[in-house]
């Protein structure tokens, strides 16, 4: 049963890692704007979608 302590210890390390990642993310301002990045990632660079343009 001593293996339990190893498992618990490693799960703690993992969880603390996530906690640090969360704090880092908040400090970095990544959750200040939860809308714009969702739109930004959909933009293509420089190419025009011809099909959409014809519809107008």
């Amino acid at each position: 049963m001593k293996i339990m302590f190893v498992l618990i210890g490693s799960s703690f390390v993992l969880a603390i890692g996530f906690l640090i990642a969360f704090i880092w993310m908040v400090k970095n301002g990544q959750i200040d704007d939860d809308y714009t990045p969702s739109v930004r990632m959909l933009f293509d660079d420089g190419t025009v979608k011809k099909t959409d343009e014809e519809k107008v």
């Binding site: 799960s11 703690f12 908040v26 959750i31």
Partner: protein
């Protein structure tokens, strides 16, 4: 390639979606309503940015005025330094407020600005705040050129006096998120460690595992208690010192008891402790708090006159040269030049030019006022008739209009003027809780003294009003979001509750229940011949009645025929003889005409020429659509009042719209409105003020709830609790009803959480509360309450949309 077409069919502009006038511009098979739009399209297609038009249809905004020298003040280094947040010898960075940001295409275009001008290093748009962070090369472009570039593609940044005078709150409070993170982390781990214990362990494993697990749990609960839960402890302590029992008192009591009992049980090996309950409680509470803290970043609810005035004005120096100066640098005696459509920044005397000032936003009067040379013009009016020259008489801060802000009401923070339902309940709740805890302790003192402490603390733990504390934040937070989706933006979630308690509504007239500053006139009947027009014009021109004046203005004929006779019967109509023709103008009753009455918000003026009915002029009031229905619906539940800065011209009509019990007051200045609201409140009425302009600012602030109507939510609106899209005016009764319904949801969920408390208490008083039951009951009750409030507020929101 470019040609001008004449077509009768209505086409919409490829850039902005407006209807193109008969003379439209065509380029590459695409129609444009104006040169401005066409130029933007050309600029974008040259730079390979036509994706702008494929992300969203017609994303542009029409802009028909030229930029000219408008931004000359940005060359002033003093103003520059206040706007730019970072600058070195190469680049500068600053944040612009761009009200026009409204769709995905906007983000695309602005972030690709470097393709149009390579002096732009980078742009980051924050869509929700409608801001753009721009880094640009100071050696290639000046701030003024950058702003002009933005303006030329339709994204004009807005600058107000506020931007340069006030420090913006820089860092958003992220503490709550850290607290949630820590609480969540501890909660998860404590749960994981506590689980084996709940499922049962055989005796040998229990022996060495459970004490180790206990210590780990204890260690994890320390940050939860001292960091994540600190706000509840502090707020309860502060409340008690002011002799206030808020919901935080029983919460803090529960937290402290939980924390102490955990230590006692684990260190003395007498039990498992309730670490998971403690962590879960704090975690859920913080989530509720976070949910309630939603704010609308792009809207400002705290604006004062400073954000209404421009930053700078053109000053005329003694040598007749002009310079731009910041408004706060203006001195008494300075000569300033105000161009068409500019706002007068300070009380001043007219020196030169034709002043025709529109005060509708400031005083509520809808007609622009002519001013003679030498007359005082109050700050805040808008010049509508060419350039004028003025001499400053009073500084902006001391002008007639801005003095309103010196009233005490603007210094007071009246956030906590109404006692919330939650606070009311928590008083009784805390007393009942303590009574039960103490009586169960007394009971066990008599029958089994070993259970005294166990039962006493268990009562305080299990009755800890977590679900109770969650129901308000979730119901109100949800309601706020649902209303926000319907363009009814609340300053904070608590406003929902305030609205639900109101019993009186005061309306402003101009801009609030009327739509624009002009009413429309149409002629109904066979088209008038030129002679008939001249006859009617000659008659109406001679009358001083406002309606006759409007008709005369509408006909707009230069030559009048001399009248033979003219007889005006006040309030009814005119009989006249013009060059041998009998002309009668007036109401249907006056001319003995039977009219097909409709409920439309319009006034009809009938015309008889030589005894023959030729038709009528329909004067549509620019009242908002559905005004009558809105007033009728509201009259059932509220006392209604009308305060107008305008004259009594439309009193008769308004009396027909408002119920007879309503007070209609005219010619009210901003201070009158404020005092009127105060008087109503003195009579124990709870007042909602609905207004739009600066003249309502005092009233909006004094009222228990101030709702400011805005044609464009990104433009100026005076400080208020609610900003509402004016286009949705007819939904006002539904919004108010929704707030009331939300309160009913809260009442029901309070009952639900009380039920859980009673179940838990039955275990607690009998001294048989095991950590498992506490650990199950607490989250279940919280989740039920959250689920119930979320679903029912959502269903109510759907109902709000569907009802006719």
């Amino acid at each position: 390639m470019i040609e001008t077409l004449n077509k009768n069919t209505k086409t919409t502009c490829y850039h902005c979606g407006d209807f193109c006038a008969e003379e439209r511009l065509v380029l590459n098979d695409k129609s444009f309503c104006c040169n401005g739009c066409k130029n933007v399209f050309m600029l974008l297609s040259e730079n390979n940015l036509t994706s702008y038009y494929s992300i969203e249809k017609t994303p542009g905004k029409a802009f028909k005025q030229s930029i000219g020298n408008k931004y000359a003040y940005l060359d002033d280094t003093n103003i520059q330094s206040k706007l730019i947040s970072y600058i070195d010898h190469k680049v500068a960075r600053l944040q612009f407020q761009i009200p026009n940001i409204h769709c995905s295409s906007c983000i695309y275009l602005l972030e690709n600005l470097y393709k149009i001008n390579n002096a732009v290093v980078g742009v980051r748009v924050n869509f929700l705040k409608k801001t753009a962070n721009i880094v640009y090369d100071v050696n290639k472009i000046s701030l003024r050129q950058l702003v002009e570039l933005l303006a030329s593609i339709g994204y004009e940044p807005s600058f107000t006096m506020n931007d340069i005078n006030q420090e913006k709150p820089k860092n958003i409070n992220r503490k709550l998120l850290f607290q949630i993170g820590v609480a969540g982390f501890c909660f998860g781990n404590i749960m994981m460690i506590s689980f084996p214990e709940y499922f049962g362990l055989d005796n040998t494993t229990r022996h060495y595992l459970s004490s180790a697990f206990g210590y780990i749990n204890l260690a994890l609960s320390i940050p939860v208690f001292f960091y994540s839960g600190q706000d509840y402890l502090i707020s309860a302590y502060k409340g008690l010192r002011k002799k206030l029992i808020t919901i935080d008192v029983p919460l803090a009591l529960g937290l402290v008891v939980l924390f102490v009992r955990n230590f006692y049980e684990i260190l003395t090996h007498t039990g498992l402790g309730y670490c998971d309950t403690l962590a879960g409680l704090v975690f859920f509470l913080l989530i509720g708090k976070w949910f309630q803290q939603k704010t609308y970043d792009s809207l400002s609810f705290e604006r004062d006159y400073k954000s209404y005035f421009p930053i700078s004005v053109i000053k005329i120096n003694s040598d007749n040269q002009t310079t731009t100066v910041a408004i706060d640098k203006l001195k008494i005696g300075d000569r300033i030049l105000i161009r068409n459509n500019e706002i007068i920044p300070a009380d001043s005397i007219l020196l030169k030019g034709k002043a025709n000032i529109d005060f509708s936003f400031v005083s509520g009067e809808k007609e622009p006022i002519d001013k003679e040379l030498g007359e005082i013009i109050f700050a805040g009016g808008k010049q509508t008739n060419g350039n004028i020259e003025l001499e400053v008489k009073k500084l902006t801060e001391q002008s007639y209009l801005t003095q309103l802000w010196n009233n005490d009401i603007f210094a007071k923070d009246n956030a906590s003027k109404v006692e919330t339902f939650q606070t009311k309940v928590s008083k009784y709740f805390t007393v009942a809780l303590l009574a039960i805890a103490i009586s169960s302790a007394i009971y066990w003192a008599v029958y089994d003294s070993s259970k005294i402490m166990g039962a006493f603390t268990a009562v305080l733990i299990i009755a800890c009003p977590c679900a109770l504390a969650l129901s308000s934040p979730f119901a109100l937070g949800n309601a706020m979001r649902n209303l926000g989706r319907k363009k009814f933006y609340l300053k904070s979630a608590n406003v929902v509750e305030n609205i639900a308690n109101m019993d009186t509504i005061v309306f402003d007239k101009t801009g609030t229940i009327t739509q624009s500053n002009e009413s429309q006139i149409e002629f109904m009947g066979n088209p008038l011949t030129q002679l008939q027009k001249e006859l009617i014009f000659s008659v109406t021109q001679n009358s001083i009645h406002p309606l006759s004046k409007q008709i005369a203005q509408h006909l707009n004929i230069s030559s009048a025929i001399i009248l033979n006779s003219f007889d005006e019967i006040t309030g009814k109509g005119i009989k006249a003889n013009v060059g041998g023709n009998d002309v009668e103008v007036g109401s249907a009753k006056f001319l003995n005409i039977t009219e097909n009455l409709s409920n439309a918000l319009s006034t009809r003026i009938y015309i008889k020429i030589n005894g023959e009915n030729v038709g009528c002029f329909v004067i549509k009031h620019a009242y908002r659509t559905g005004l009558k229905q809105v007033i009728n619906q509201l009259a059932n539940q509220f006392k209604l009042h009308l305060l107008s800065g305008d004259n009594e011209q439309e009193k008769n009509f308004l009396q027909s719209v408002f119920p007879t019990s309503s007070e209609l007051l005219f010619k009210q200045n901003p201070a009158d409105k404020l005092i009127y609201i105060n008087t109503l409140q003195g009579n124990n009425q709870k007042v909602i003020m609905v207004g739009d302009g600066l003249n309502d600012a005092g009233a909006l602030k004094t009222a228990n709830v101030g709702i400011s109507l805005s044609e464009d939510t990104s433009s100026f609106s005076p400080s208020s609790d609610v900003i509402m899209d004016a286009a949705n005016f007819e939904l006002l009764p539904k919004y108010l009803q929704y707030c009331k319904n939300t309160m009913k949801v809260i009442y029901v969920s309070f009952c639900l959480s009380l039920m859980y408390n009673i179940i838990g208490l039955s275990y607690a008083v009998s001294g048989t509360l095991s950590p498992v039951i506490a650990a199950i009951l607490m989250p279940i009750s919280s989740v039920t309450v959250i689920g119930f409030t979320s679903i029912s507020t959502y269903l109510l929101a759907i109902k709000m949309k569907n009802r006719p």
